[in-house]
């Protein structure tokens, strides 16, 4: 299983949804709150080149945008990661 990092901000519905999704699939992930944490924000920008959460990094794959758009890609990445 590749390492999963989730970059989030508090009170963010899309972030919560992705957390639930990952939990639902039994994936372990590291969450980083980028609001008020310049280091995490810099890391997120370095990996995804975006400033807006949520950003999901699964191994080599990095996804951003709203939950609806990320969901199928996350599921695909999780599927290929386990096989």
């Amino acid at each position: 299983m590749p390492a999963i990092t989730l970059y989030t901000v508090p009170q963010c519905a899309d972030c919560e949804a992705i957390k639930r999704l990952l939990q639902h699939h039994g994936a372990t992930y590291t969450e980083k709150n980028v609001r008020g944490d310049p280091e995490a924000l810099a890391e997120m920008q370095r990996r995804a080149n975006v400033r807006i959460a949520p950003v999901t990094a699964i191994g080599e794959h990095v996804f951003y945008g709203p939950f609806d758009e990320q969901r199928p890609r996350i599921l695909a990445a999780l599927g290929s990661g386990t096989s």
Binding site: C12, K19, Q23, E31, G36, V50, Y64, G65, D68
Partner: protein
């Protein structure tokens, strides 16, 4: 702001291409909210958001919507735009375009209250300046009314317009988002109406007091927040770093994970960490609100800010200062208090009926008598506007947010962390509270209570073999058995070919024999258990213990009984909840007999032998029947917590618990649940009393003013008085101490929570 009026880029004739960096727009739902608002403005086109740069770019026809209006609308939503000097021509296209997910958490309401930051005096905030300037204008106008009434009227009009401007903007912003009947709209209408009928003085005073009310709310929130901030100050500034054989004093925020610090008696712990050497009693009150010291030894966790009452400790630092428990709690509470949407929900719902009602009644009063009965226009127009003015609810807008902020702060100081107004509002209204068993109602540390040997075996021999089989397993029951063997000082033989059938048995080869430790049901499916052994097992289970059978192939060797003791205060907590009129139920995956025995002891209902999906189904069921709060450890039962109306995590500040649940009990005490329920009810009671008081006063003055017994001025002054009283009443919640009658808390000998 950097909104310097640089001339629009002449790229598109009539339309300027603008790019803003939008502070605060850092989540996908925020982006959606901003895009929807901006696209709804007349004269906007090609609205794009850059996820990369956190910027918003658009083509804006400034003859239709001014740049200032756009910026104010953004601010009204809680985002601060800064215009970028160079409009980027190659803004990367955001992925966000065209997505559509259910409209959650949009702040459709108008008033964004800025609380003064600690250290910032009230008059330095934007709201404070507004109040000061319009107050000065009012005073000047009043003075001029003695000298030259013409000037006075201009002064009143100026003060009214100044005060109404921000309100009207917020009202328009809300109206664009589909909420035309905000409180701001009502106040704006009333003030403008007052100017139109030549009563600018009244209008100015109403607007002034409305602004004062909003300012007071900010001050109240700041005061509640200061209480929490004070907690942060409890963490010491310096630490004694252990280096080689010596000790050196260093700043606490320079500590890094893995360093070792020394904590002397009477000093405060400088960082979150684990005790390496030493034993002491620690007062964890900054983190948990529990002031009775807890005895801790090597391996136990300590929190930054706790007081080391006796004994010298060395502690391994496990969290940097910015990330320690107390910092996270403060951050979460600030988030909770700052989350505007849930805090303002109640008042928004309310104003959706109140504002149109007042406008309608005023219109009827102003129009019907002159039109139908030929009464004098001016008299009735005046009465109509008077109604609008009286209807302006300074006291009302204050009552909800001030009370919620105070409630959250009061809870935090008692170790009840509530993550937002919505959770605080809901906890007191649920009909049922569901508890997870292991680790919530029980201590989560099972131990072996009995060993029964069959045939002529020695009891220690049964324990020794069972422990050997379980040695490789991390299951809590396995740990209980190996711990018991260790306590009995038994030397465990080596095992080979250990394997587990999850939930049923563990099998291994020990000293040449194939042994297994099995659940009674699984054992019974393999062999015929002797009657006396079956009886023993049933007896154990009826006593709330979990039984396992040790088998040598198909020969039972003995039975071990394991019990996870209920927390000492659990029974009292359940009784308290029943006194509050809340149903309680225990959800467990354990077998029915064991579950029932524990539930019977504690006095609550039970649903046993549940699979995780059964728990979710039950929660959904209870949710439909009057609401349910779920109490769990926040780690194993996160889905159930998420599914319930309010998820309450028990756990001394673990990340997961703090993150997943709506509320967390920082002291691991079940009685905190009852405290949460009563705090929620106290807060909602406070809010309802405030609203009833403010509305009642309005109703009285409405009638007496229409009948001519009181005039507009008296009504306005009464509302100001009500504003002050309502604020004071809300701040009273800060002193909330829980229910007074609390015999269990004071007379129980304090049992310190142990950490394994």
């Amino acid at each position: 702001m950097t909104s310097s009026p640089a001339r629009p880029d002449p790229a598109a004739p009539g339309a300027a291409h603008l790019t803003y960096f939008v502070d605060g727009m850092d989540c996908a739902s925020c982006v959606q909210k901003v895009e929807r608002m901006v696209a709804g403005l007349p004269g906007t086109a090609d609205v794009k958001t850059s996820f990369t740069k956190q910027t918003l770019s658009l083509d804006l026809d400034e003859t239709q919507t001014g740049r200032a209006t756009l910026e104010r609308n953004l601010k009204a939503l809680g985002y601060t735009p800064s215009l970028l000097e160079q409009p980027k021509s190659t803004v990367p296209r955001a992925e966000a375009a065209g997505h559509d997910h259910s409209g959650h958490d949009h702040a459709g309401h108008g008033h964004v209250h800025e609380a003064p930051r600690p250290g910032q005096p009230w008059y330095a905030s934007g709201q404070g300046k507004l109040v000061l300037i319009s107050g000065v204008l009012l005073a000047l106008a009043w003075l001029f009314s003695f000298i030259e009434p013409q000037f006075a009227i201009s002064g009143y009009i100026a003060a009214t317009l100044l005060g109404v401007w921000p309100l009207a903007n917020k009202a328009v912003a809300s109206a664009r988002l589909g909420d035309p009947f905000s409180i701001n709209m009502l106040v704006s209408l009333a003030a403008i109406g007052a100017v139109l009928i030549g009563q600018a003085a009244e209008g100015a005073v109403v607007v002034f007091f409305f602004a004062v009310g909003e300012l007071l709310e900010g001050v109240a929130a700041g005061r509640a927040r200061a209480g929490i901030q004070a907690l942060a100050a409890l963490a010491p500034k310096t630490a004694l770093l252990v280096e080689g054989s010596g000790v050196r004093e260093v700043p606490a925020d320079a500590l890094t994970v893995g360093q070792t610090v020394q904590v002397n008696p009477g000093a405060r712990v400088p960082a979150d960490g684990a005790i390496l050497t030493g034993t002491s009693s620690l007062d964890d009150s900054p983190v948990t609100g529990e002031s009775v010291p807890v005895s801790k030894g090597a391996g136990d966790s300590v929190y930054a800010g706790s007081i080391n009452t006796d004994g010298v400790l060395t502690v391994r630092v496990e969290k940097a200062a910015s990330d320690n428990t107390i910092a996270r709690i403060i951050h979460l509470v600030e988030e909770a208090e700052g989350s505007k949407a849930p805090t303002a929900r109640f008042i928004d719902r309310f104003s959706r009926y109140y504002t149109p009602g007042v406008v309608l009644v005023s219109a009827l009063v102003a129009l019907v008598p002159p039109l139908l009965f030929g009464a004098a226009w001016h008299t009735w127009l005046y009465k109509g506007i008077a109604l609008l003015l009286i209807g302006c609810p300074c006291a009302l807008v204050l009552s909800v947010p001030a009370a919620i902020t105070s409630g959250i702060s009061a809870g935090t100081r008692r170790g009840l962390l509530i993550k937002g107004g919505a959770a605080l509002e809901t906890i007191g209204t649920v009909k049922t509270i569901a508890f997870d068993k292991t680790g919530t109602l029980t201590a989560g540390k099972p131990c072996v209570t009995d060993v029964v040997a069959s045939q002529h075996l020695d009891r220690n021999e049964v324990l020794r073999l069972a422990a050997a089989v379980e040695a490789g397993s991390s299951h809590p029951l396995a740990k209980a058995i190996t711990d018991a063997a260790q306590q009995a000082k038994l030397t465990l033989p080596a095992v080979t070919e250990a394997q587990a059938i999850p939930g049923k048995a563990v099998t291994a080869t020990v000293e040449g024999r194939t042994l297994s430790v099995s659940s009674p049901r699984h054992a019974a499916s393999l062999v015929n258990l002797p009657a006396d052994l079956s009886d023993t097992i049933r007896t154990f289970e009826e006593q709330g213990r979990t039984a396992v059978v040790l088998l040598d192939r198909n020969t039972p060797l003995g039975v071990l009984a394991i019990r996870d003791e209920p927390r000492p205060e659990a029974k009292a907590a359940i009784a308290q909840l029943h006194n509050l009129g809340v149903n309680t139920v225990m959800l467990t995956g354990d077998n029915a007999r064991t579950g029932q025995a524990i539930a019977r002891d504690l006095g609550l209902d039970v649903r046993a032998e549940l699979l995780p999906e059964d728990k979710l189904r039950l929660i959904a069921d209870l949710k439909a029947r009057g609401g349910v709060a779920m109490v769990g450890d926040g780690i194993n039962d996160a889905p159930a917590l998420a599914q319930s109306d309010v998820g309450i995590a028990m756990g001394g500040g673990t990340d997961v618990a703090l993150e997943t649940a709506d509320a967390a009990l920082l002291q691991e005490r079940v009685t905190g649940v009852a405290d949460l329920v009563s705090l929620s009810r106290a807060t909602m009671g406070n809010i309802k009393a405030n609203i009833a008081f403010a509305l009642g006063l309005k109703a009285i003055f409405l009638v007496t003013t229409l009948l001519g017994y009181t005039n507009l001025w008296m009504a306005i002054l009464a509302d100001t008085g009500a504003t002050a009283l309502v604020t004071a009443n809300a701040l009273r919640l800060l002193r909330w101490k829980g229910r007074e009658a609390r015999p269990t808390r004071n007379t129980l000998p304090h049992t310190t929570p142990h950490r394994a």
